[in-house]
Point group: C5
Chain length 355, copies 5
């Protein structure tokens, strides 16, 4: 199974209205959490059956239904029918491999993007699809797995933060998307810290582990970009959208900030990509420079012995007439000559700055 | 014959209305398959002669004629004449080397793009031209070879899927193009899986086979991009088109999704391109690092013997006066000195972390 | 003389109205060919003197004057005067080093672009400037050298192809430009075939000749891009132009196709550029990998002999007291030890997968 | 803590209205400096308590409040309340890690960007956030640390430069931003000078220090780009803005110049990035070329001795029947042969231009 | 002093109206040349004092004042006052480090760009700022140094070229800018010729001088791009400008041509940049390939002697019982064996294509 994209042959040519769960990740049971609030009251509950939602539907309060888990197409169909959504929408919710997008429908606005989490042990990013259906007084969010990422928003609702309790579903949606984008930047700052720490090791001790690390981060930054670059288009579409479900006065400024944050994430990931490329270069150069030093030293070492061994070889010959062999101090003179040659060579190499 | 583009000198300066078959791929006999349907009925048949099409023309039902094989210019001319198409259109159908495009004519809309298939044995993509002529109540699709890629759509028509049976030729065309694009993504996910698997081999066992593989995938990704990048323009043209043959309410959302899917395909192919470049780098570095280790080991090994051989050389000389030769334990002392030197050097090299 | 651009100091500051021939290529005599036609009749002739053109001017027929050779500024001036063209136009015709462009004047439309030919022996592209002046019932084309590239169009006119005989000068101009662009694609397919054939040689036999070839093609593709990239702007200008001399109904579709073809040419040249870069990489890696194998083999070969030579050296010493020398089978034992060491080392190197 | 971006997990999901100080840099006490002026008078003072600002608020004069230090959220809240700013604004002021931006509010215009300073000792850029709130007759500037960068503007106000004293807060804001941008260019010229000086060392003496230097500058240029590229968008937004707080007649030309200056900064940083890349290349090539020369010399040196040592080895053998040993001048002939071989090899190597 | 940008700390925060000379290049005396002309008459003179200009101001003729040298701020102020220019303009004239720009003022149009000259000895481009102030019947041009680049235009005015004498200051300005751009192309063709000549040397004789040359040209092309890329924006602004000082009918076509020429310059500089990169690659590969050949040869040479020396070593041992030593023809057999081994190895290496 490829990590960057995954499509089975059986999906080809399927009707776009088909409701089919494509993933393999299952939370044991699909969790349906409702928060229903207005400026005065907050009510929170976990639905045992989807039917219970009827209690909240016709009230004037804002209802946020969070669905954790997508592996029950029947439930999805039921949701679509109860709220009378276009069939395309529920199919989009289940199509977890699609690009982030904003799609305007008659009765609602559909937004999807990728949530990223960083597995610090494996140095690996995990991507999960998040879908939002924004309707009048109703927000439904779909996640692939159970998770607590949206807890801070729930906390803000409970704590009666003025803005979030007085605004409609548009501000609430912004709050959720904001968490997703903040997470991108948080992960980048986490990875960034580690990437910047590589630099030191790089020059002092360029082990293959460092190389492996650089390549891992390169791959993850690449994976991140694949996920956040299209999110930029999604945010741009939100900023430009004149949908009735996004009140410009209420969330206009905030959506612009969202876009700004994604832009920042993209720029920082670009910076780190370049830093990693540079590090790879430094690694390569440091390593080859170290090797070169070793080889040069060893070569010089051998070279010094070569003429000495040759001289010894000369006087190891068995010629009958080899006058030097018979002088009294020949042997000692030989040593003297050898030492002179050695010193001469060392001096010469030093002078040419060879070691 | 070049694979990326192919143009013979004789084609230069030809009239754009010339109907000439340029390819070499021939299905033995051109296959003409008709599906004629409306919300209530479906009728399927293979035409023995093109004339039989007259049966379907004047009915109120939707007629989809699928033509497998382009090597009979006369048949093409006949088709053009029967339906009173602009002559340019039939010439475009036969011009299989052209870029994907959308061209609006008075009586119809012409769309062409490339279908890709992946030969898993040869690790090679094969590209085939697909042309669609979308008219009122009539869709004609042209393929270069017999194939069953559109079977899922036929199946959907047979199974009376509400949408496809109740919509016009625009939705049907979308369904066909959707299969083509889905195929791009499917092929990318197929190649992606293999590309991602290279990584492991890369570090443990960087054989020339791995190098060959990386280069093959690079070439194929390049080939794919050449085919899908212009398809993006084609999809954009469809989304923006205000042709009467594309009912915006009926297929607007779907065409946007088509464009989204092509964008995804382009982005993923970009990701894999980068991954392959990185892999090439890793390959290069791993290989050179391995070689360096070997060479360093061998060099150090030789270097250790060099002074030893020199010492042996010294005492192989035949000087008359060489006092050491005559001491009783000289030979054993020599061994001792040699062992000390060896250990000293090993210790020194270890300390400097050279092996 | 630089091949990519050529400007002499004397040209700086010249009036843009100056008529001066800048090139060095001269056809011996400037050739003036006229084809004059309408739906019924065709008349062809070579003018001996330019004055003879008067015969064709006031007729209702379409007149195409083709001028081969630009080295006679006086003739150019005469042409400009007879047809009452803006002086800028004739200066543009002579300015053969300029970028492809479309310029609308009161009485005519000026179009220029580069014609490329490929010298297969030298593996070199040759670029020549083509200028078209499109007026009412009159088309003048200027080439730098005599050539037969437009013969197919003449043939189509002679053969009474309906469209070309019934349309105005706009369709005729399109036909000429189409030949130029088709030529780009033809040359690319010619080069492409050869470039793709390099791949095989690359892995089996990476000789310096292959390197030279790759670099030659890189340079030529670069040269081609320099010529066709601006042609894209030219075609875009034609498509967007609302000049009275281009009847949108008559040539709109064809000009769009022209643009499509240039786009294709650009994309294919991009593909080949990348392929050539990859080939350079493969060349480099294959070569260095081959060298490494040789060096490793040689080094291992030497390393095996080093301890053997050392042992022989030991027993070549002349110590009085060297017990091993006097044992009966010492020599044979030495051989045994040497063979053991050799086998041990070979085994060790094999095990570590060093050769 | 990563230098390029920094986000703690606790910030995720916070309300955008939260006033929280995120940084660690604290000036001991927040410094509040006021300059209040009109065409005739200037009054300068340091506020002890923020309340004192009331003196200046209702006057017809222009009031510029400069706040050095952001670590007191309460003060920030107080500022926001006194001037009745949107709560978002004060939160933006405290969000020092955000991208440069321009945001229009009902009662004011918010502008933020990065101020850079260059630590010449550490070769490191330090970035600090600057926020401007431009209102009617009121300008508030926020810096993270105490600093004197704006002193020249104060000096111009004191010296009664006509323009600055007669214009509104828009021209004053421009003057502050101008200093920030001028600083970018000044730092680039500082770094540029040093980068250009590297070139010389590079060829004569490519030490690892030079490599370290190049990499340091690469990282800093990268850091700079991360800060100034988004500033370009900020300037573009200012130029295009039709806010009532920016009088186009008064500052239009100046804002355009601001944009021009940022563009220049971006272009120059691009130039230096390329120069550094080229330098890295030169470093690499020079180093490897030097090493190659050394290795070639050493190898040739060894190679010359190899046949000589072999010959000596031959005559060191102890064969009973080795005729040459017994000729009278054998030894001297051997020397002659050796010298001839040496000279021959040197001649051969010289001829092939190997050293 | 950095060559790409130069800013001193003292300039930071200066009022944009400040008139200060920043450069160091001084022509000894500022030269004021006037050409005053209309269709009938031309009058040329060098002003001794600026006051003399009054003679030309109120006449109906066109007045072109050329100022060579900027080092006298007082003169600049005087010029600004006499013609009642906006203070910003004169400050822009003196700000020689700014980007090329077009700025429309009430009474005039300000245009600035860089003039380049090529020092052929040092292989170095020199850039100089040119400012034009285009007003009604008045054109003032400012150069940093005395120079004769505009002589051809003066010559055209003297020779009574119809267009230049009958047009206003807009055509005259175009003529001056045209010279500047023509110069870009001339320099590129000059550099191009040399760059293309490098290729040959590259393969036959890749000396370090060639490397130095390539790097010099890379730096200069980089420098050129830094100067001409922004000039493109300047030209675009002129083409789009609807200033009253640029009569579209009179100079529209010419300004478009100007833009075309800059585009050509940019494209050619791109081509040469790529060619230089390729050359660097070829240099690197040729060099390393040459070195590899040498090292391989040397290594093979040594390897052949290794077993021979080993054999000689064996028979140099002093074992009492070494039977081969005592056979009559042992020595000659040894030689035979040695020659066989040598031939065998040479044959083996040749067969594996190692040299």
């Amino acid at each position: 199974m490829a990590r960057f994209i995954n499509k089975s042959q059986t999906e080809i040519g399927e009707s776009p209205f088909e409701l089919r769960f494509r993933g393999t990740k299952k939370s044991d049971k699909i969790l349906l959490r409702v928060i229903d609030f207005d400026a005065e009251n907050v009510e929170e509950c976990k639905l045992k059956e989807f039917k219970e939602i009827s209690r909240y539907i016709d009230k004037e309060t804002i209802t946020w239904l969070n669905v954790d888990g997508l592996h029950d197409p029947k439930l999805m169909e039921q949701i679509g029918e109860v709220f009378e959504f276009d069939r395309m929408i529920m199919s989009d919710v289940l199509n977890t491999d699609q690009r982030p997008k904003v799609q305007e429908y008659e009765h609602c606005l559909f937004v999807s993007c990728k949530m990223l989490t960083f597995n610090e042990k494996k140095n690996q990013l995990i991507s999960e699809n998040l879908s939002l259906i924004i309707a009048d007084k109703l927000l439904i969010s779909f996640q692939e797995k159970r998770g607590d990422v949206f807890e801070p928003v729930r906390e803000r609702i409970r704590k009666q933060k003025r803005k979030i309790r007085n605004s409609g579903t548009d501000y609430l949606s912004f709050a959720l998307l904001d968490i997703v984008i903040d997470n991108y930047i948080f992960i980048l700052s986490l990875m960034g810290e580690r990437i910047e720490m590589i630099e030191e090791k790089l020059i002092n001790n360029p082990t293959p582990d460092v190389l492996r690390l650089i390549n891992e981060y390169k791959r993850e930054i690449n994976f991140m970009r694949k996920n956040i670059l299209p999110a930029k288009e999604m945010a741009m579409a939100l900023v430009k959208s004149d949908s009735e479900f996004l009140d410009d006065e209420n969330v206009g400024v905030h959506l612009k900030e969202l876009l700004d944050n994604i832009n920042q994430a993209v720029e920082i990931s670009d910076s780190y990509r370049e830093i990693l490329s540079d590090q790879l270069n430094i690694y390569h150069m440091t390593l080859s420079s170290k090797l070169n030093d070793v080889m040069k030293f060893l070569t010089i070492f051998s070279v010094i012995f070569i003429p000495l061994t040759f001289i010894a070889g000369i006087y190891g010959t068995n010629f009958d007439n080899l006058p030097e062999l018979h002088f009294k101090y020949s042997y000692f003179i030989m040593w003297g000559v050898m030492i002179s040659i050695t010193l001469g060579m060392i001096f010469y190499f030093k002078k040419r700055d060879w070691f």
